[in-house]
Symmetry: C2
Subunit: 240 residues, 2 copies
Amino acid sequence: MTTYTSEIIGILGGMGPAATADFYAKLVVATPGSSDQDHLRTVIWSDPTIPDRTEALLGDGPDPTPWLLAGSRVLREAGATVIAIPCNTAHAFVPRIEDHVGLPIVHMIGEVARHLATLSPRVHTVGLLATTGTVRAGLYQEWLDRFGVRLVLPDAASQSDEVMTAIHTVKSGTCDARTTALLAHAAQRLTERGAQAVIAGCTEIPLGLPADTVDVPLVDPALILAQALVRRARTANTAA
Amino acid sequence: MTTYTSEIIGILGGMGPAATADFYAKLVVATPGSSDQDHLRTVIWSDPTIPDRTEALLGDGPDPTPWLLAGSRVLREAGATVIAIPCNTAHAFVPRIEDHVGLPIVHMIGEVARHLATLSPRVHTVGLLATTGTVRAGLYQEWLDRFGVRLVLPDAASQSDEVMTAIHTVKSGTCDARTTALLAHAAQRLTERGAQAVIAGCTEIPLGLPADTVDVPLVDPALILAQALVRRARTANTAA
């Protein structure tokens, strides 16, 4: 039986709140164990009032950096030893906070790129469904370039009318079959252009797009982040 | 559009961790709103290392009170203005902590009793599926007595072989059709003895017992607690 004592996971969440609940559920499932006491101590700061990340990146809204810093401080003071941010778009602001939080941040997008590079058979081309903020900030582009994976993106119409419409629907709590159809169609257009896998690159997307509606593997960054945290905690425990 | 500014929900969780994730998801769904920013700021301390509550109540394990007090302190220092404990059995320890946490605790079992007393048509007899710790501590008995609702409990064999077996299965992450069958059978025995509703009185139970497998309404205390918190936050907001 595995028990973890030294690591306390800090989750900087609320972006959105449903995605935070989903991420914590994935972390619990990813943790091996047969009783409560085998699981990781976790502190979650879920602040849905953090200004919209995409709006900030497009110059249409306030900079969320002060909220992200304040939330990180809450997590550190609560005893967290590592920070995870289950929001792809928020990773655009990681360079502005990482030197000030005093804790390591496990980088979700970096973990996804690393994961893709180790798949067998090798994935050469991957599609991305994400917010316009994540796409414009080039977050996946930068990391996938490092690992030699080619990225295909939705065209402008699919990005705004399919992907962003679906994300807003999930955030509003009214996700339905039409939302799934929008996302599945956007994914299909990416596979037609050569994507051998599709990244569900906004934490709201897996809530609206079941994996079996996509012809190729659907990569869930929240799940990969959860698995990375569990691996890290096991190492921390061994080292303690 | 409703926005909440004054209330910060503190969730004292980890008992177990899957139930905490499920409770936070229910709180998000129970909150009206169409964007992230309409949701409640929430801080969650999820400590799965808190000693088993049932074992403590049966005299077989350490008292979890110090862990509950330490977790409450983390929540208060993080800015929480109210505490919710999504674990029925842990409510046996509320009298030992409530005078020391410095924050109001919204009492899940009290909220369930209040909810049952307001149902129409009136529920006179209710069944309870809960841990042996919750049953022995008389938590529901005490609150339902105040509201004039009669309680029926599983017999000793059903309590140990059906209810507790199923709860341990959910906690171990291996919940399956057999788990559901055990719980559904235990519920059926309660309805045969006159229960007009059944309380899923351990936060693990709704994870293993879909409402449509029970002939009478299945009352989910986590959902009722979530709804009580949302009502409280709206009032706090109006008063602010």
